[in-house]
Amino acid sequence: MRLEKRQHSSPWALVLAPIGAVAFTLLVSALLVRWAGAPVGQTYALLLQGAYGSVFALSETLTRAIPLMLTGLAATVAFKARLFNIGAEGQLYVGALAAVAVGGMHDGTGLPLPPMLLFVLMLLSAALAGALLLLGPALMKARLGVDEVVTTLLLNFIVLLLVSLMLDGPMKDPTAMGWPQSVALMGELELAKLIPQTRLHTGLLLAISLAVALWALMKYTVLGFDIRALGANPRAAAFSGVPVTRTMVAVALLSGALAGLAGAIEVAGRTSYLTLDMSPGYGYSGIVIAMLAALHPLAVVVASVFVAGMLVGADSMSRAVGVPTFIADVIVAASLISVLVATLLTQYRVRWK
């Protein structure tokens, strides 16, 4: 068996590929559901209902989707330039840490600044913290050829230890009865709720606007061209005059800033303080989302709502039928694999022998 490059992708393949990907995902998951001894149809129905079936379900899904959108955008901009930032998890945590440092109730009071100014300052410092964390690996890649996958991945663990140090030390909440959590954010800095009685907050609007802004940046600006050209063909990009190192730095700052913002928005919108288990791997899920979205900023919004829906829906479904919540991870993973394979098959044909 081998793959031959297609001269042209047939229109049929382009239509059938996503349908086939969905069908394959449903089939694989259905087999596992059967294996768990649950009725397939009912399980899927409960899953969808738990994800999108009511205002409450939808609000939970969208709440979960907010950090995923931001880390998904972080991965998208970096991967477009072939800067493989695996460190969004760490950038998210330093962002959250910076947000608490600027906007937290240290010694019972916050910084004596107007709340509006403090709010902007909080977001900026979170973005800056995330950006600076990625700057080192990006410079080392551009100048010395150091593999950014290794450096960004390992920085995640260093950051987690740093957060742990801060939560047990200078930023520890004295009222938390020894629990390692940070001081709470000042009340004025918390994000307003979009729908009363739910957890859905205005961070959603910010995340969607950032997706639109990134889409516009990629499509309409010189920097967007530089990023796409650099990712697609670095030698040709350099030949045509793209400033390679400067573009790589810009991408790193953008990507790190987006991931850092994810941390700040989580703190300001949902948790109001920082703990070591604040992110169930949002940084890593962002990579999955970026790939599902084929590195398109607007598709990142859709992919985040899909992944978040599977996670939230699986929670409520597993309470009703005896299927473990891991089915959500299986669905997300299977969909990613089948989307990637389907994309491959639109570009290559398989020859047997």
Binding site: Q7, H8, Y220, T221, V222, A229, A232, N233, G241, R351
Partner: protein
């Protein structure tokens, strides 16, 4: 005729809508050199890949020494005695000649290698065919010609009876080509058969017994090499009569446009070492040389993608800026050697590629925003004026054919966006054109087109630096010709003062001899 060693019958292969091979039937006799002639994309590579088992034919069969050859199996082809020397060599640089020759020819389960026996056999094969090479030399230290000899030895060592050579002279000096032809003569004298793939008409007639011409996937003609002419072959290849490019000497040489003074780059394999050259407006200076002797670096330096460590370069009396966008703004038109890898970003649309060099100029962007309308209008104008076919501004550059890619590269380099609104051609003529292998891999029609454009730009007053591995191109286009060897650039002399022999000697490094004769 003598016995048939190989016969291809009705071989067809399609890639989607493209018919790469259309019912090709072809025989190879024992002890003959068959030249497979055709333009890029005519189907030569596909046919050979099918023969060698890299592709499976959609229809047709292959018979080797009377036995059918299993399709799609390179091992079967090797076992049947078919060997191939690829254009890009498949040698391990860090191993010796002997190791490279032995590699893959011994069983994995053998306890120790039989080097002494292998050395004797290699020496015997080398002697029989007149291919002398040091068995213990490291391949990395060998010249290109020597590496090719190792490739041929590797095939002969395995006892091939049919040897396929893919564009073997592309990397050789004229003298090296001659010695290759002598070796090929020895091989057929020993009863081997050779398939010689080329698009160079003169050497095809010089070396082969029989010529088979492919065009658009079809076998259009077969002829005895003694009974045909270059003009006839060219007509078969292209489908209509073509006139070979004519010399068109410069009428009016202007003032110095670009001056290089003792330019050197950081020590590396392909460096410049004290290169001095003056390029005048209205003349073409052609640089010949075996690839890897600094020509690529010279092109990169003038294209703004390589820094110099010593010396100075002046463009119209000013120091040459470093950044490519500044160079382009000052009127340097750049045609890189590798249009896929360097010239264009294949995944991006044609219009973005058309403006990529000037994207930072105020013509195409304001602050951060790209002026998409103006950029697309410019791309449409380039497409129209330079006859780029196969896609509009929105199609990806990758989907263009090689010739059309080159027209796009040429168009964006030569067509100043100002000429859209103003017809004062002189103001928008490039000051300097750096053309590195501008016709490499193009079909005859596209080659003529590119050469015509270079002549036209020169006659409009541009200084043209043409770097080419193709000696015919160098001698036809160049008003003055200089040869690079080992990072040094020889003196640029009028093209008519050179002969093929003196150029070949200079390419091999015998600069002083060339001057003396």
């Amino acid at each position: 005729m003598i016995d048939r060693v190989l016969s291809l019958s009705n071989i067809s292969k399609r890639f989607g809508n493209l018919v790469a091979n259309d019912a090709i039937t072809l025989d190879l006799q024992a002890g003959e050199i068959l030249a497979l002639l055709g333009e890029n994309g005519a189907g030569k590579s596909t046919l050979v890949s099918i023969l060698f088992g890299h592709y499976t034919a959609d229809a047709g069969s292959i018979t080797v020494f009377g036995k059918p050859l299993a399709a799609g199996d390179p091992k079967a082809a090797l076992a049947a005695g078919i060997g191939m020397v690829h254009q890009h060599f498949t040698l391990a640089d860090n191993l010796s000649v002997l190791d490279n020759v032995m590699m893959g020819s011994e069983s994995l389960w053998q306890v120790h290698t039989r080097r002494a026996a292998a050395r004797d056999k290699l020496a015997e094969v080398a002697q029989r065919f007149g291919l002398t090479v040091d068995a213990d030399a490291l391949v990395a230290k060998l010249s290109v010609g020597e590496r090719q000899r190792v490739e041929i030895l590797k095939a002969l060592y395995r006892g091939v009876r049919i040897l396929i050579l893919d564009e073997p002279t592309a990397v050789l000096t004229p003298q090296e080509s001659e010695s290759l032809f002598a070796v090929l003569g020895q091989m057929v004298a020993h009863g081997l058969s050779i398939i010689f793939i080329s698009h160079k008409l003169a050497e095809v007639l010089r070396v082969s017994d029989r010529v088979a011409v492919l065009r658009a996937g079809k076998l259009v003609a077969q002829a005895d090499a003694r009974n045909t002419t270059q003009a006839q072959l060219a007509q078969w290849m292209v489908g209509h009569a073509v006139s070979p490019p004519q010399r068109r000497p410069s009428q009016r040489t202007g003032q110095a446009a670009c001056v290089l003074h003792q330019v050197s780059t950081a020590p590396a394999r392909d460096r410049l070492d004290g290169v001095s050259l003056t390029l005048h407006g209205g003349e073409i200076v052609a640089i010949a040389g075996i690839s890897g002797n600094g020509q690529a670096t010279l092109a990169e330096v003038l294209c703004g993608t390589r820094r110099i460590t010593a010396g100075r370069i002046e463009l119209m009396g000013q120091p040459l800026p470093h950044a490519p966008s500044q160079l382009v703004a000052l009127g340097v038109a750049r045609i890189p050697e590798d249009r896929h890898g360097v010239g264009l970003v294949g995944d991006l649309p044609v219009w973005e590629n058309a403006v990529s060099e000037r994207l930072r100029s105020p013509v195409f962007s304001r602050a951060f925003w790209v002026k998409r309308r103006i950029a697309q209008d410019y791309a449409k104008a380039v497409i129209a004026r330079f006859d780029v076919r196969g896609g509009g501004p929105g199609t990806t550059a990758r989907s263009l054919s090689g010739g059309n890619m080159q027209k796009l590269v040429l168009g964006r380099a030569l067509m100043h966006p100002g000429s859209l609104v103003d017809t004062d051609t002189r103001a928008f003529t490039p000051k300097l054109i750096v053309a590195h292998q501008p016709t490499w891999g193009l079909d005859i029609g596209a080659v003529a087109y590119v050469q015509e454009q270079l002549f036209a730009a020169r006659d409009a007053g541009a200084a043209v630096l043409l770097i080419s591995d193709d000696l015919d191109e160098v001698l036809t286009l160049g008003d003055r010709v200089a040869v690079m060897h080992g990072g040094h650039l020889g003196q640029a002399k009028p093209a008519l003062d050179w002969s093929r022999e003196s150029i070949g000697l200079a390419m091999a490094g015998a600069q002083d001899v060339a001057h003396a004769t």
